[in-house]
Subunit: 434 residues, 2 copies
């Protein structure tokens, strides 16, 4: 068999993921060549700081401090953009596309924020952007939705999309440790960054959900419009009470059709023990999708980390080299001019809810609280009043409701929280029974 | 946007899957057109018996009793071959390829038996064969291994690949019912065919494993050479004893590298409760794959049934129409002339084993049995001697071993079974702890 001309790839950014990508391309070169039908070589890598020590060596020492050396190298046809954040990532992506490179990226923030602009530019220039690694790391969920389940109308998506958050809630549950303690542990182990805000406040999961929902439902919802609650407000008591009821708390990203409209949110939810999402532990990610033909599909794997993410990036590089990425980019019409703008405000999901109310420990309080819930049409499925009162004279009241709308429950809780029978804000979490 | 010329698809076989494919192509036509970039229409369908009542109508009534009407229609470019078994399926596939059709099929027996010949013919004719639906129904495992995990060297595959078997073992476990009873139930519910042999004796799972292992490891192992045990030898006691030890019994297909060689088998195994494979119930399929970069990936979904299988067939039709299937078929080199013939005989897997021995209920017997195990270097991790003896004067002895080679355990059991202290054949199942 004649050896085909090698494809020259440029890598911008040699952080954790970038180093993993170079390592994989070098160490598995023969294996990758078999899948790509031709050799794939790292022709050049660009970094911010040439002096920094690195765990990986770029073949031939073609390391540069200026990413323009990648975009201006006419021999490079594919570029992996592995720089996080919005700038200079956006500027680099634009420059790469304008210089005729097909781009592969793992930067979900960039796509969630500037996707429409970047995809439109790629389309105009006849280039492709592949982004399997941007959502759920090594889990091939972008290909699954965009290609493998293409015959289905997707009905719903539920995902655990942030490994840091999942590591923290799992360890709180398993170790009985409080949030601050486990967050420090996660930072020591490298599962959480020094500034973990984007992970623990739900931003990262929400950006990934915006991308998945676009692939699944065709609509583009700016990520900042998606209701979002992180795990940073969780306390150990909530996890314990959920456990007593047979549930685990997970940060779940949800998107689904409801009355012909799109309902989306990212928030901690009670997930029934034994269901696949509930059994997703530690830094793993998971996605459950329901399609009208295929039924419920479930994917589970490492959602972050150097090599799982590099696995997805290199798969995209192979897809780009062989021409599949160009076809997919063109036919799925990701964020094309036809993309309908979606509105998700005011969409009501009918679900069971878990409430934790800090009630004053005196007669008549329970009647008052249940009365308010009844006035809003909310029916109680079960209730636990815990004996152990707090120093402020309150006792925790845990209520599971029958299915009710999110608007009704929110109004009822505002009413309860404004009354004189409770202390502090009540907590309300959705309950996912399957 | 200009409307592109429709692609005309032929469907051969309108059984359960074929009817589902036509239904999906008709009912989701607009949705599918968006993914394919052009309309896909069913131009003709061929069936064995025109007089038979059908649940689906072929558009325009282009129904024919001769599949040659599909292969000889020059306007048809893609054909879905949805006839089961080896003949006439093989003859039809050859004819379709020779008449220039790209083929999509769900027939795993055909590929496992005649794959090398058919793939070679397709390659020679410049056509593609897509077969996502042949393995694990709606789970996109062929794409996952062949494309999404292409950057990985696959280390192992474990799968629950036969829905009928899994339905039966799950119901035996959950209902405490015996094999024959549950098999009848499965037949009533349509989960098992009138002649369930290929499902319950492991043939179907083995054929699927041969296909997956080829995609993952590049080698082609004729399916009949893969060691295979079905669920038809299971009794309820085994499931009960496994449960007492914290395990569930599942029919697990296994392929992995061991000492640089390929180890493969299909057999009932004890799977630790709480692990994803153990929690795969009913007619669901599941596949767990370990790749060197991505780590452990897990996929779960409906592995059979009309619409899940149709979902995979139509995804393949879309892939073929847009051109992705041709690229994949070419670059992955499925069963090309370079495919190494694999030998798997005599490969030893080091695992824990579960033994059920019917021991004579008299002094010295336990010492004799444990002595024989010791002579073969097999170390016992735990043992339960059940009180309830059988009418033949034996008591069931359940032993969990420490990891040992399959050859050693087989020799030890042959030795034990040939002795005068036991009755009947002992049962030996592998134990999968993660």
């Amino acid at each position: 068999m004649a050896v085909a001309e090698p494809v020259r790839v440029g890598v911008v950014g040699l952080g954790t993921v970038g180093s993993g990508v170079v390592r994989l391309l070098v160490e598995s070169a023969d294996h990758i060549e078999r899948h790509a039908g031709r050799p794939i070589v790292v022709a050049r890598a660009a970094v911010k700081d040439l002096a920094k020590a690195r765990s990986v060596e770029v073949p031939g020492g073609h390391l540069s401090a200026d990413w323009r050396d990648v975009s201006r190298d006419p021999a490079i046809s594919v570029a992996a953009l592995l720089v996080g954040g919005l700038e200079p990532a956006r500027t680099i992506m634009i420059d790469l596309l304008e210089h005729g490179k097909d781009v592969v990226t793992a930067n979900k923030a960039l796509l969630a924020e500037h996707g429409p602009e970047l995809f439109e530019l790629a389309r105009r220039r006849g280039r492709s952007i592949a982004f399997e690694a941007a959502v759920a790391g090594g889990i091939p969920i972008v290909a699954a939705i965009g290609e493998c389940l293409a015959a289905n109308r997707i009905e719903s998506i539920r995902g655990i999309l942030n490994g840091t958050s999942n590591f923290i809630v799992t360890r709180m549950e398993e170790d009985g440790a409080d949030y601050a303690h486990v967050l420090r542990l996660a930072q020591q182990k490298g599962y959480a960054e020094a500034d973990p805000a984007m992970d623990v406040d739900g931003t990262d999961a929400t950006q990934k959900l915006a991308i998945l929902a676009h692939l699944a439902f065709g609509a583009w919802v700016p990520w900042a419009e998606i209701p979002r609650t992180g795990i940073d407000g969780l306390d150990l008591d909530l996890i314990t009470y959920a456990g007593e009821l047979g549930y685990r708390i997970r940060l779940v990203a949800v998107a689904g059709r409801s009355d012909g409209r799109l309902a989306m949110r990212v928030a901690p939810a009670l997930v029934k023990r034994g269901t696949p999402l509930a059994e997703t532990r530690g830094a793993y990610n998971a996605v459950s999708i329901v399609g009208d033909a295929v039924g419920r599909m479930f994917f589970h794997g490492l959602g972050a980390g150097q090599m799982p993410t590099a696995s997805a990036v290199v798969a995209d590089i192979i897809d780009t080299v062989v021409g599949r990425a160009a076809i997919t980019f063109r036919t799925t019409g990701v964020l094309s001019a036809d993309t309908p703008a979606a509105r998700i405000a005011g969409v009501d999901m009918q679900e069971r809810h878990f409430l934790r109310i800090r009630a004053q420990d005196r007669p008549g309080v329970l009647a008052r609280i249940t009365g308010i819930l009844g006035e809003h049409g909310i029916s109680i499925a079960s209730m636990i009043q815990h004996d152990a009162g707090a120093a402020d004279g309150t006792v925790p009241l845990v209520i599971m409701t029958h299915p009710c709308g999110s608007t009704a429950i929110r109004k009822a809780l505002d009413h309860i929280d404004a009354s004189d029978v409770v202390s502090g804000r009540s907590v309300c979490l959705s309950v996912l029974d399957e």
